[in-house]
């Protein structure tokens, strides 16, 4: 017990670790805020950089970057309608309208506090239930991931705005983009039109930067002469009453975040989508309608994506299996430093688990501090005249895209998606469903084929499996319920029962 406590406090009491965690968190916020710079990239660069360091120092810096980076994506989403990372895509839905109302400062303040609450709850779940949660996550078979992806497709109704038909079209477009590249099973090129560059597919961050960043910049040309909205900067830190009001929602969305994050096949991006959907369904009287600057629409994704960090560490620390791309790189770092990430990690290096838990908690506290300072300067971004802001955004988009793979080809793709996104916006399409399709398309493809080959390519066997395994039964019934309650099927059924 005393060991546990001293491991937990390791990062809190050692000035060097304290400093590195703080530095990491601060750097992470900026890495996360710039579209294209990803936490995965930053952490893998750190591996060579920290090669000769003590492992604890390296881990402290990585934890900081991870926590700060996941939060940082919301900054640009709120201020510019350009999510810094896929997990902040839904943050823009209500965050940007808030900035348009002059409440950018309040929105950033609220998202900071909520991210910290989500992050701490995620850490708490990691600390208390890691082994059980890991066992639960292992129960998910390919068919269950397939069902989750199908459930995700139903989010289209939440993300489409006014026109569901346009939303469905956008999801299909996104899914098609997501399928480009070499087919994993047969190694045959798919939709590549003979281009070797396309064999690896189009990176979904490229699509995201194009559709959100470049397209938004082009679209803003319509408002070139509009006077920027004056930002209120007096009420940045949300009052306690507001935080308490959103506490029940944030606990629920944090749980969604930590569970989805702990599943090795899904991460913060999908968690934030489900959380937003949950808020939209469960909050009957939001502060404003969703999509027009509802605080609830900000609280849900921001708690969920930070809680997912704690979740991603669950399979990593208990089993040595990555919960997402970042923890995969951290596992690599452990290997290079001579540790043995695996089921024995917690036995042979007992300090790692509680050290990480303590470190995550610490990084979240630093996040609260760094997140709440400097907001006034940040909100000024919105007040910058469009003629200066738009070229800057475009430069940022190009640099961000280039840095993903150091490839000019991807910059051209990004610009292409920017132009496509501009026209889609003009005709009233939403960008969210396209990203939903890009994220879910490959997941659907992969998990459906895995589930089918598990059943010996028999459709009957596959369908039977959906209703013969407890976990799959639950997921299948949720899908059926959502379909029945959200579609005309409901009123049709009601009318029928009444008649009989």
């Amino acid at each position: 017990m005393s060991d546990t406590f001293s491991y937990f406090l390791m990062a809190w009491l050692d000035p060097q670790l304290l400093l590195l965690t703080a530095l990491g968190t601060l750097a992470g916020i900026y890495v996360g805020a710039i579209p294209g710079l990803s936490v995965t990239m930053a952490v893998s660069i750190l591996i060579s950089f920290t090669f000769a360091w003590d492992i604890n120092n390296a881990l402290a810096l990585m934890v900081g970057i991870y926590v700060g980076g996941v939060y940082g994506g919301s900054r640009t989403a709120i201020l510019l309608n350009i999510p810094g990372a896929p997990s902040a895509v839904v943050t823009a839905l209500d965050g940007y309208p808030l900035a348009q109302r002059g409440e950018a400062g309040r929105a950033i303040g609220l998202s900071t506090v909520m991210s910290v609450i989500g992050g701490l709850l995620g850490t708490l779940v990691l600390a208390g239930t890691a082994p059980y949660l890991a066992d639960m996550a292992l129960e998910f078979a390919s068919r269950d991931y397939f069902l989750i992806a199908v459930l995700g497709l139903l989010l289209v109704s939440t993300l489409s705005g006014k026109s569901l038909a346009r939303g469905i079209f956008s999801v299909a477009l996104g899914a098609t983009i997501g399928l480009i590249g070499m087919d994993q099973v047969t190694a045959q090129p798919r939709l590549t039109m003979g281009s070797m560059q396309l064999m690896g597919g189009i990176h979904y961050v490229v699509v995201m930067i194009g559709l959100f960043g470049a397209a938004e910049a082009f679209y803003q040309l319509h408002n070139l002469n509009k006077v920027p909205i004056k930002q209120k900067v007096d009420k940045i830190i949300p009052p306690l009453s507001m935080v308490l009001k959103f506490l029940p929602l944030s606990v629920r969305t944090s749980l969604i975040g930590v569970i989805v994050g702990a599943l090795p096949g899904t991460g913060g991006d999908i968690a934030s989508l489900f959380a937003y959907d949950h808020a939209k369904r469960s909050v009957k009287h939001p502060s404003r309608p969703f999509g027009e600057g509802a605080y609830e629409g900000l609280v849900a994704p921001e708690t969920a994506n930070n809680a997912a960090v704690g979740g991603a560490y669950v399979p990593m620390l208990t089993l040595g299996m990555p919960g997402d791309a970042v923890t995969a790189v951290i596992i690599g770092a452990l290997v290079i430093h001579g540790l043995n990430p695996g089921p024995m990690l917690m036995v042979e290096t007992p300090h790692i688990f509680w050290f990480t838990v303590g470190n995550l908690a610490l990084a979240n506290l630093f996040l609260l501090f760094f997140g709440l300072t400097g907001i006034k300067v940040f909100t000024k971004v919105v007040e910058v005249p469009k003629a200066i802001l738009i070229p800057l955004i475009l430069v940022l988009c190009v640099v961000g895209t280039y840095s993903i793979n150091s490839s000019m080809m991807e910059v051209y793709w990004m610009l292409g998606f920017g132009i496509l996104g501009y026209w889609l916006k003009v005709f009233g399409f939403q960008m969210g469903p396209i990203i939903l399709g890009v994220i879910l398309g490959p997941l659907l493809d992969e998990t459906y084929r895995q589930a089918m080959s598990s059943e010996g390519e028999s459709l009957g066997g596959f369908l039977l499996a959906l209703v013969s395994n407890p976990l799959s039964i639950v997921l299948t019934s949720v899908i059926v319920l959502v379909l029945l309650s959200q579609t005309p099927a409901k009123s049709w059924l009601l009318a029928r029962t009444r008649r009989s």
Partner: protein, 335 residues
């Protein structure tokens, strides 16, 4: 902890100074290293733990970038299209030797110059800890009686599990449901949950899970028992005929453009040979469940030729229809 930072600053300043002199020796500036697989994978781990030693020896900085996708085609294509000045390195795995056979690309390692074949991974056929099979012979027997029932974790055409399955099928018959995952990690996770029955894996990926009692080894794909897994029998016990394909395993190497100046080739070969031989890196390879090779020149070429011949022909004998062409047409001799 700030010492390495100081050292690297000094190195950077030093290389700047060197660039100033007229008759500068290779390397006079930063080198770009491209890793053909993603962050956190085996090739990435090997590249990132070896490179700091090389940087020290060459007194320069090697900037590592992951360019994953298309079974490594994209990373290799990138390096081949860079200037042949010795400042662009490829960190690659075994896959390019099969590109032509599978119709993925028209180049192989023969189109580059091999700086070093760093090492090779050992392969183990793993199953969940509560699997009813205690050895590969048990599994094979069950599969003979119930063809097409067992689920094998795979990583797609050209991946390690499929190649091992091909070797087995070239000498015996193992009819299984091949479930394709995005990599070793997702496959192991599915196996831990009991969703697949077995999976051929590199020891680097499976070793810790076996040691921790979450998975068990049914066979090691070698002719003798190995030190790291003392109780796991060699596959030749159940399948003596497979010996003709062994030793076999995935490997990692460093490559440069074929037309790189000889001076740069020699400097790189020397530096990598020294770096791979360093105690620290040897320790890493051992704990990673890999065998050190440290080959260059003719020895490296022999190794690549024999790997390609063994793998291509076993794939051809197991399932010729799935291939784009035959090893014979590509001029790959029989093993």
């Amino acid at each position: 902890m700030f010492k390495p930072l100081l050292v690297s600053t000094a190195v950077a300043l030093g290389s700047l100074a060197m660039a100033g002199s007229a008759l500068a020796e290779y390397p006079e500036r930063n080198i770009q290293g491209t890793i053909q697989w993603g962050e956190g994978g085996a090739t990435d781990n090997v590249a990132r733990s070896l490179t700091p030693h090389v940087e020290e020896i060459l007194d320069t900085t090697i900037v590592l970038t992951n360019r994953a996708g298309g079974t490594g085609v994209i990373g290799m294509n990138h390096v081949m299209n860079q200037r042949a000045d010795g400042y662009n390195l490829l960190y690659g795995a075994e896959n390019p030797l099969l590109y032509q056979l599978m119709g993925l690309a028209d180049f192989t390692y023969a189109d580059m110059h091999t700086v070093n074949i760093i090492g090779q991974g050992l392969v183990v056929i793993a199953a969940p800890a509560d699997s009813p099979f205690d050895s590969f012979a048990d599994l094979l027997e069950h599969a003979h009686e119930n063809p097409g029932e067992l689920r094998m974790g795979g990583t797609g055409a050209g991946g390690l599990p499929n190649t091992v399955l091909a070797m087995i099928n070239a000498v015996d018959e193992l009819d299984v449901r091949n479930v394709t995952f995005g990599g070793d990690g997702p496959g192991i996770t599915a196996m831990l949950g009991g969703h697949i029955d077995f999976m051929p894996l590199s020891l680097a990926a499976a070793g810790e899970q076996i040691r921790g009692g979450k998975l068990k080894g049914l066979a090691v794909v070698t002719t003798d028992e190995i030190e790291a897994l003392p109780d796991v029998p060699p596959i030749t016990e159940a399948l003596p005929d497979i010996e003709s394909f062994l030793p076999w395993g995935p490997f990692w190497g460093v490559f440069v453009h074929k037309d790189t100046p000889d001076e740069a080739k020699a400097a790189l070969e020397e530096a990598y040979e020294e770096a791979v031989a360093s105690d620290e890196f040897q320790e890493f390879l051992e704990s990673y469940g890999a065998e050190s090779l440290n080959l260059n020149g003719d020895e490296a070429q022999e190794y690549l030729d024999s790997w390609q011949s063994v793998t291509a022909w076993s794939m051809y004998e197991a399932d010729a229809e799935s291939l784009e062409t035959t090893p014979e047409e590509l001029g790959i001799p029989r093993p």
